[in-house]
């Protein structure tokens, strides 16, 4: 299983519909400071069900929606879709590929979809149970975590071990 496609529209600085296609090897995202690289990482955490606004570098959920620029008005919705190819059948056989989508509207309501069917976050979490896929820590690593992981406050380390167990 691997991430085949990521589509962002209205998520943080991605005002226009933007598509990334990934192959299974090493892909690098590059660009100047502030151009939107970490926003892509946030988008992947978010579509996989991340609920902790702090980890998405925002204070309120609606700060995830494109909030305008000098030449564009703020948008009313943020949407991210992730397509996973099911190579080694980690997911139920029936799927060769799975597309999950998450939406958030300015009024705070949101929705999740598997394919074109609306679902709940719990359905997505069950789908990925025991595949190692999820917004959890050890598959999305930022430099800031390095300091936390080795610090004296070891609850963080403890949490990671429990997640892996």
């Amino acid at each position: 299983m691997y991430l085949a496609r990521l589509e962002l529209h209205g998520f943080k600085s991605f005002a226009q519909r933007t598509v990334f296609t990934f192959n299974g090897g090493l892909t690098a995202l590059v660009g100047p400071n502030g151009c939107g690289k970490s926003n892509v990482v946030d988008a992947i955490r978010w579509v996989l069900g991340e609920q902790r606004v702090r980890l998405l570098r925002a204070e309120r959920m609606e700060q995830l929606i494109f909030n305008g620029s000098r030449t564009r008005k703020p948008l009313g919705m943020a949407e991210v879709s992730l397509t996973l190819l099911n190579r080694e059948n980690r997911l139920p056989e029936a799927y060769t590929e799975i597309r999950i989508t998450r939406r958030l509207y300015r009024d705070g309501t949101g929705e999740y979809l598997i394919g074109d069917t609306p679902c709940r976050l719990r359905d997505i979490q069950e789908l990925f149970l025991d595949t190692g896929v999820g917004p959890n820590a050890y598959s999305i690593i930022e430099l800031r975590m390095v300091e936390e992981l080795l610090s004296e406050r070891t609850e963080e380390r403890r949490r990671l071990f429990e997640e892996a167990a």
Binding site: K12, T71, R157, A164, A165
Partner: protein, 158 residues
Amino acid sequence: ALERFTKTLQTVRTHFQELVRLLFEDVEEADLRLADPDDPLQSDILLYLRPRGKRPTSINQLSGGEKTLAAIALLFALYLVKPSPFCILDEVDAPLDEANTVRFLRLLAHFYGKTQFIVVTHNKRTMEAAETLYGITMEEPGVSRVVAVRLAEATPSP
């Protein structure tokens, strides 16, 4: 729960010791131990690491670059216990010098085929090692756009 946790700790420990040897030139001691072995479900987990010829008494005395490598070894050791098909790294190579960047990339190459990596980086060596490179720009101020800088030939991936 106890049984599972102890087994996980042992597996992570073995992987950690293996990975540290890949990332550090020469290491005298690398270990993961329970602060309080009598109470594994509550005890803190302590890391020990002694690079070549040094005698640090605790992980705190390591340098910025050494700590980053130790953390990467631990995260990958956890990863091996319950491998997720992809791994996203956001500028974890920033504190690394030339030699350690090469070791870091060698570690990633060790996982090719099993794991997909998406790496955010400013480091030229890491960019060279990538099959696909996506450039993100903000030519229109405040709006991110993607420019494909170099794409791996359209061969089907693993």
